[in-house]
Each structure stands twice: as structure tokens, then as C-alpha cells.
Subunit: 204 residues, 2 copies
């Protein structure tokens, strides 16, 4: 695959990977174009053959993140079908799993400050992944008597906020904020309580 001569062979992806590693290690602040180039074994100037600049490189990392994220969410959703409940909880777990397995992507997506509307491509992918969770929420809503059924988008926003909060506060080694619970349990139990509150699972 890698020719390893004067021509790199796959520099573009190598740069994205280096960027992801750097972001994972040092946060979005710590990432510099120059160091990403160095890690890929290349001069900083070479980056400009593949990206417009620093921002563009981060945006590509985020794009790939949304791609993977969307696929994982979709897979989890499909996997829980035909049970609306199983599909939903599976999707919730996928959220956390993604954040843990792809921290660089996660940070590029949610903490780097790049806007999801930077390119239509990015916006589309972001929307697609959000749609999966919304779909799962919507399916579940159908099981709630219509007179006290919440809007699916609100339901979905609640879960997204919950998941994001758990990731930020407890899944990353946040500034001294670790709790005695592990993130999976925390999210699982929170969602459990929430679903009970909607009358979607039994009060035991």
C-alpha cells in the first residue's frame, strides 16, 4: 500500500489519522498542522496539496467521524429491530461506544468548533446520524398514548443531551470530575429511568 518513496501514496488519509491522534492526545487546541505533517513524515507545505489549510483538515476528520457515527447508529438501530425499545436502547449504547472508540473523531465533531454547516456534505452526514436517533425515538413514541406523547424531536434531544453530558463529564478523564460509576452504567440507568418516566417500561 504505502510506496514510501518520494511519494507517500496515501498522504491525505495519513494526515487525517495523524490529526485524529493529536486531537485525541491534546484536544482540539493542541492540534497543529505542522505537527500533523511531521507525524505523517512530511513537510508542512505538503499538506496544502490535499487540504486548504488547518481548518479544512479538521473538517475532514469530523466528516469521517459523522460517517462512521451514522453507520454505527444505523447498524445499532437495525440490530434492535423489530422491537422499538431494543432498537432505541441499542442506539443509545452505540452513541457512547462511538465516543469511547473514536475519541478523536468525537472531539473533532463536537468540540473543535467547526460548524456542521461548513459544507453541504458535512451537514448531510450530520443530519443523517441525527435522523437515526430521531427515528428510534419516533418509533418508541408510537407506543405512548397520544394524549401524553412527547414530540419525538424533544425526546431525541433529551437523549442526545444525556449522552453527550455523560461523555463530556464522565467518559473523558475530565478535570477531576470522575464519578464512582462507569459511563456505560450511568447512561444505561439514566435512560432506564427516563423511559420509565415515559411509561415505556414497567415501574418495578
Amino acid at each position: 500500500m504505502s510506496k514510501r518513496g518520494y511519494h507517500h501514496g496515501n498522504l491525505k488519509q495519513a494526515l487525517v489519522d495523524a490529526a485524529l491522534d493529536l486531537i485525541t492526545e491534546k484536544g482540539p487546541t493542541g492540534f497543529t498542522l505542522s505537527e500533523a505533517a511531521k507525524r505523517a513524515g512530511v513537510t508542512p507545505a505538503a499538506v496544502y496539496r490535499h487540504f486548504e489549510g488547518r481548518e479544512d483538515l479538521i473538517a475532514e476528520a469530523a466528516r469521517q467521524g459523522y460517517q462512521i457515527f451514522g453507520e454505527l447508529m444505523q447498524f445499532a438501530y437495525d440490530n434492535g429491530q423489530p422491537s422499538a425499545l431494543a432498537a432505541f436502547t441499542s442506539t443509545g449504547r452505540a452513541y457512547l461506544a462511538f465516543a469511547k472508540k473514536y475519541p478523536g473523531h468525537y472531539i473533532a465533531m463536537f468540540e473543535s468548533g467547526i460548524s456542521v454547516n461548513r459544507t453541504p456534505d458535512l451537514a448531510l452526514l450530520a443530519d443523517r446520524s441525527r435522523a437515526v436517533l430521531e427515528r428510534a425515538a419516533s418509533d418508541l413514541c408510537a407506543h405512548i398514548p397520544i394524549e401524553r406523547r412527547p414530540p419525538a424531536t424533544m425526546f431525541s434531544a433529551h437523549i442526545w443531551a444525556m449522552s453527550h453530558g455523560v461523555v463530556e463529564l464522565f467518559a473523558r478523564n475530565s478535570p477531576g470530575m470522575q464519578s464512582p460509576f462507569d459511563p456505560e452504567d450511568l447512561l444505561e440507568s439514566a435512560i432506564g429511568v427516563y423511559l420509565r418516566g415515559l411509561g415505556l417500561i414497567e415501574m418495578d
Copy 2:
């Protein structure tokens, strides 16, 4: 108060305020010691009369944030007493209110990457504010039959995560992630559902 001569009079606080403004405007990344000094009308070198350096200045901003935060939370808690439920929901609202009213402090506290264990002073204040929420949760727990009562720390962690998630995703003008709901409603309704799930308020 401000003498406005060669001697500033209240430079230390002026620097903190400038830092907070900068952080609010440009995020923790955008903050530079030099620009904070400039805004305070002073040479960068003057900063070193009052702080050990850049990090130390951010830490002081965070410290003041935790101070205010703790007081607001405590006030909200007291205000809801003697009803455990009122105290709790009041505390939850105070969280969001703080994030909106003091965005610079909030960012310095939770997004700047400075550790809460940087100084004992900071750790104490952070712990104190966390204790308020935990106390509110604990009070409420007492109303739950013991056999299905969750640990108060977990309960509290759920609410903290929820609140933080709402702030990060929907209260700040996050990268294109705005929802059709406003943050207050979102948090209020989420907590409502959650409390129903715990059997703390009636299923209507």
C-alpha cells in the same frame, strides 16, 4: 476606585474580567494573555505581577466561577426548601441559569481543560457546588421506597450530565446543532420525565 494613573488600582480583577470576556467571545482557545492585558490597558508583562502566567489566570477565572456557581446553587436550594422537590428543581434551573448568565466562567470551569485539582482552593469550591446538587438529590431520594431507591450520587450524576449536555448542545450556539426547543424547556421537561421515572411525581 480606579485611580487610572500609572498604577491601575484594580488590575488583577480587570485582567480576570478581560479574560472572561475573551473566553466568552472566542472560546478557551481564543484567549491569550497578551490580549487580556491589552484589554485591561496594560502591558503583557504587567500580568506577571498578579499571576504566574496564562494558566494561572484562567484558573482564577474558574475559581471565581465555582464561587458564584456554588452560591447560586445554594441559594436555589434554600429557596425551594422545605419541599425536597421544589429545592431540587430549583437547583436544576439554577444550573442552566448560571451557564447562560456566566458563559465565560462556565467555559473556564468546564471546557478550558484546567483541572479542578489544580489548587486545594479550587477543589474545595468545586466540591462544595457539587455537594449542593447531591444534597438536593439525596433529600429527594428519601421519598423513594428504599427497595428501589437509587444511590443519590448516581441520581445527581444523571442530572448533572443532563444539564451539561443541554448547555453544551443547545444553550450555546453550538456548531449548527440548534433545536426547535429552548434550553430551559428542554431541561425542564427532561427532568420532569426523569422524576416521573423515579416515581417522584405523578404519572398524569
